[in-house]
């Protein structure tokens, strides 16, 4: 729409306007040519451009097309090679002692607005809607307060932390089954679907008076995105006595639900049916808290720029990589201190080969260390040559200790041909660990 409006504007304003536009555009081009983020000087220049009377308001569409047509020109600086990664200790220490500004507290979170908001939420839940809160800032604390101060006065409450990497829908359903009485309904099966059905049936019983409030932090997290999880939740969400309050943080989270799903309504007089209807009946509320997401990101790997990147199909591999790269120097040294001399030699061998291949690749930046790993067969040959392990069993037992502690990670090679082994430590740390191991040998 706005794009159109712009074109209409230019055509109706006639010729001399045209020149302005071309000037403007060339200005913009100059601007985008230095494509990387502005430092002091160019930021000042941008301000100068902004000060000029600007008849045409550039829209997001214009910006997108301008960027898409030009080649992205950025410097060749590589962050991870120029800046050594922080260890977890360094990170927490620095954040704790950081001299930051006073946190901004939105009015919404202060009394009396908060009481008003919470009463309103309760009323809307009672009216048969479910609530979805959005906006920038961690909403965990606010919703937890809502759960303990309001919901628990009105019924059973279950709080789910969807943002945690090891969360699964099963955890949520198991917690709901803590509600006294649910397990007495006899459904032998323990699949998530039948569990959800059992909970639904329990709260659909006319004799059940107590309501259930489910607080879901980050319903946009990957465990809730699967079709199965959605259908289970959609079933529970339309129960008259179950109320869901959920938060979303991802920019595109609203895409999770179709309009018919989010505008479904609870039936006022539920008719007992074999298969109940499904949907969500969302009401959306802006709950911008401006609170940092420290709790939500507690599991993120602070040493990698993609450490907080989750979700999607790669989620599963991401979590293993995440768990793996979370290995620290100290942890590695502790493990190495408690293994046999031979195992240390094996580690040194593997580490040496890994460093070699990282050097060869000349690109120490990739967070995916698997590509620098070593095939099992090759490792076995090398180990036999060094008299570290003479047969397969011996090698496996040596590796066993490392693998148990995640100091060596294995995966099936993508291009066929057996197992790939690697040490989940970035180059710089691997070097320090290797030096200290070699010193001991």
């Amino acid at each position: 729409m706005r794009f159109q409006a712009r074109h209409l504007g230019t055509s109706s304003d006639g010729g001399d306007e045209q020149d302005d536009i071309s000037e403007e555009e060339s200005d913009l081009d100059d601007n985008f040519a230095t494509s990387s983020p502005k430092k002091g000087k160019s930021a000042g220049r941008a301000a100068v451009i902004q000060d000029q009377p600007n008849l045409i308001v550039q829209t997001a569409f214009d910006a997108y097309f301008t960027h898409a047509t030009s080649r992205a020109q950025t410097s060749t600086n590589v962050f991870s090679s120029l800046v050594p990664p922080l260890t977890a200790d360094e990170y927490t220490g620095a954040i704790a002692s950081a001299s930051m500004l006073e946190p901004i507290q939105p009015t919404l979170l202060k009394e009396p607005s908060r009481t008003l908001v919470f009463t309103r939420f309760m009323r809307e839940l009672a009216e048969g809607f479910n609530i979805l809160v959005y906006g920038y800032g961690s909403k965990r604390r606010v919703l937890n307060q809502f759960a303990t101060d309001y919901c628990s006065k009105a019924g059973h409450v279950v709080v789910a932390n969807g943002f945690q990497p090891d969360f699964s829908l099963k955890d949520l359903l198991n917690s709901i089954e803590n509600v006294p009485g649910i397990l007495s309904i006899d459904t032998p099966s323990t699949t998530t679907e039948s569990q959800a059905k059992r909970i639904y049936d329990f709260f659909a019983e006319p004799s059940q008076k107590r309501h259930l409030y489910i607080i879901i932090h980050n319903i946009d997290a990957s465990p809730f995105r699967s079709a199965k999880a959605k259908s289970c939740l959609a079933l529970l969400a339309l129960n008259l006595k179950i109320h869901i309050v959920a938060s979303i943080d991802h920019l595109n989270a609203p895409l999770l639900w179709s309009t018919s799903e989010s505008s479904a309504r609870k039936e006022e007089k539920p008719i007992l049916r074999a298969i109940p209807p499904r949907g969500f009946a969302w009401l959306w509320h802006d709950l911008t808290t401006l609170v940092p997401y420290d709790f939500e990101l507690a599991y993120a790997d602070r040493s990698s720029i993609s450490g907080a990147h989750g979700g999607g199909t790669r989620k599963k591999t991401d979590t293993t990589v995440q768990a793996a790269t979370a290995m620290t120097e100290t942890a590695a040294l502790h493990i190495l201190a408690s293994v046999t001399q031979k195992a240390k030699k094996l580690f040194a061998l593997l580490a040496g080969k890994q460093l070699e291949s990282i050097e060869e690749a000349g690109d120490s930046t990739s967070s995916d260390l698997q590509q620098f790993g070593m095939g099992y067969d090759m490792l076995f040959n090398a180990a036999r040559d060094d008299f570290i392990a003479t047969n397969d069993t011996a090698l496996r037992s040596l590796l066993g200790e490392f693998r148990d502690h995640n100091l060596v990670v294995a995966a099936q090679a993508t291009s066929g041909g057996g197992e790939i082994l690697w040490i989940p430590l970035r180059k710089e740390r691997l070097v320090t660990v290797l030096t200290s191991v070699k010193a001991e040998l």
């Binding site: 990387s36 954040i95 720029i305």
Partner: protein, 713 residues
Amino acid sequence: MTSIPNLDDINQTAYYIPFSGSADDEAGNAISLPLQRSKNDLPDGDGMRLDAYMKAWRKTLDRMQSLIRALHAPVVEQVIKKVHNSYTNVLPGLPYPELPVVCITNPTSSSSFINDVAVRLDSTELDKGDLPDIPFLSTSLYPTDCGNITSAMKAVIGGFVDRPELLMKVKRKPTTSLASHDIEMLVAWYKSIRETYNVTALSQPKLVVIMHDFEEFDPGIVQDLFYICSLHVPRLPLVFMLSLSSPPSPSYLQLTYPRSTMALLRTHKFDVPSGIKILEEVVLKTYFDPEFEPDVMIGPTTLKHLIDNFTRQNSSLEASISILHLAHLKHFSTEPLTFLTQSTPSSDTLSHPSSFHTLDDLLTRLQGSAQSTDKEQGADWPDTIPALIATIDYARTTFYSRIRRLRIGSRLIQLVQKFMKTQGYKGLDWDQRPGGSSILDVMVDILRGKLGAGVKFLGTMVKKLKARQLSVLLEEIHIFFQTLPTALRSNEEEAREKIMASRSALPEQMDIDISAISSQLAESIGEWLVEYLNNLLRPLEETALWEVWYTGLSPFPSDLMNPSVRASMLAGLLRPYDFVDSDDSEGVTHSLSELPDTSILFRRYLDSGKMINVYDWFESFQLELETQRKHLRKKLAPEAIKVERGSPKKGKGKREVTSGGDPLEDDDGEEKWRVEVQARFMRALQELDYLGFIKHTGRKADHVQRIVYDIHD
């Protein structure tokens, strides 16, 4: 409070908080969830408003639901009939029996219609004796149930078989029983049902499978499902019911499924009534029908939003009902006087000292309306509580009678317009309105009081009518008055008399056009009609205390249904101080270095190109933090000086300590600062990542791709 678990435990993913309310509301219903209180409320104002709201909304909702059911009823009836006869009149001589399939095209994609059908099919009150009377057994199938053919079959079979009320569950042994996805299981179950209940072949219940959101099913799996089921068709009277939301032509079924599958099916198509006509029907009959009187009238803004939402965003009746629901909820929670909607509290309540705030508010508003309108009801100013109650009651009856007349007026104007159309005149250009062509838009104009010109135009048209046409029009208006409910009719006695008189004044023989008489008559009727309609359509805002029964121009909170999540997030990042409601921050612009870390990083993100080099981003962030640090030190500096001045005894020595000991100055401090900047950068970066602003393409070393291209102004 000990029952509340530690919600900050990072190792636990889900917590259960047991109910901690008082034990005596064991009934559950006693938990009161009040509306928001306002300062002008009566002591129990929120509770009273809640009661009033419940009554008002229930009344409206029941009306709308019965209207919707009535709209759906004919099609539901047809569908049921078709399912019922799906195995009786089968074309003879087919090479193999076909699987009956009922396609229901429901473009509004709301589930209310299919629910209506399902309720009809699925009568669960099954007693042993009356199964033969039950023609159907049904189950529902959702796309998520059908990830593969095994689970699809399992869902279908389980939906029928897992009904302990029909047939006692038999303990199954895995070694000797059929698998739960084997259709023979369903065959066996059905056979035993027939034997248990002695069902004859003729009256055997049909097995109906309702497939919701049919377009979302994987065609490959559905093909297999249809094939398997068609092999057993005569023994198992299966009927598939498909709920489609794509348009009837080109048919989704024909486009997606191959001939081999289509050959197995005998499809019947049904269309659910849809489109703006449905909404018009429901809204007109709820809010503009002289025969029904909702407690609260919706204002033009809400109505306009309703139309826009239906035509542009979500044309489902469920969403429309939700909009009205929210409008009611908002009306009763924001307007403190709505406790007066149905009845006025007793004088005891009102004369209680704690009600004085409310009385104050009430009197101010009464005064306001008495000044603005003519003095017809404000003549005697209420100086006692009973008089006030009488005034309120009077205001209520006045408002309701006014709105009744508005409804009559809206019907009458539609009638005249329709008449003009049938006579071949243009009438009012309702079809070519810029805002939209729905009759509801006309209602919006009526509520806004903008139809004056239209009424005048219609009057002019009437004045030009010929005698014959005039008689038809008068006849129609006469019938309209006849069909009104008695109570309303008696109020419009004057108008009816005028019509009667005009009818009798018309010359008997219309063949001879006695132009003088008829044109004179037409003239007078036209003038009368304009005056009468204008009188009927007087704005509702003119009555006293209209705010109680009419939502007026108060905007609909559309963000509740159709939020702008993206805009809110961008605002939170770019202008965090807007969320703080303080007086001195008006018009104060905050420089970039005064914003939180993530906001600084995000601003730099918006300044950059398609790909962002993380190192450069880091450097620009660092620069901004340096500025911030300088500012912070400047702020701290005066305090430090104050401290020094406060303790002059220590003198120079102290100063040396402060400057030398400043952790930000020396090398160690510099190193610490570097680590801090990096940590804060990582934190801000990962927050942006968490919010979905960053795409890791892996195409270039340590580069990320930008996703949002919004312009910061």
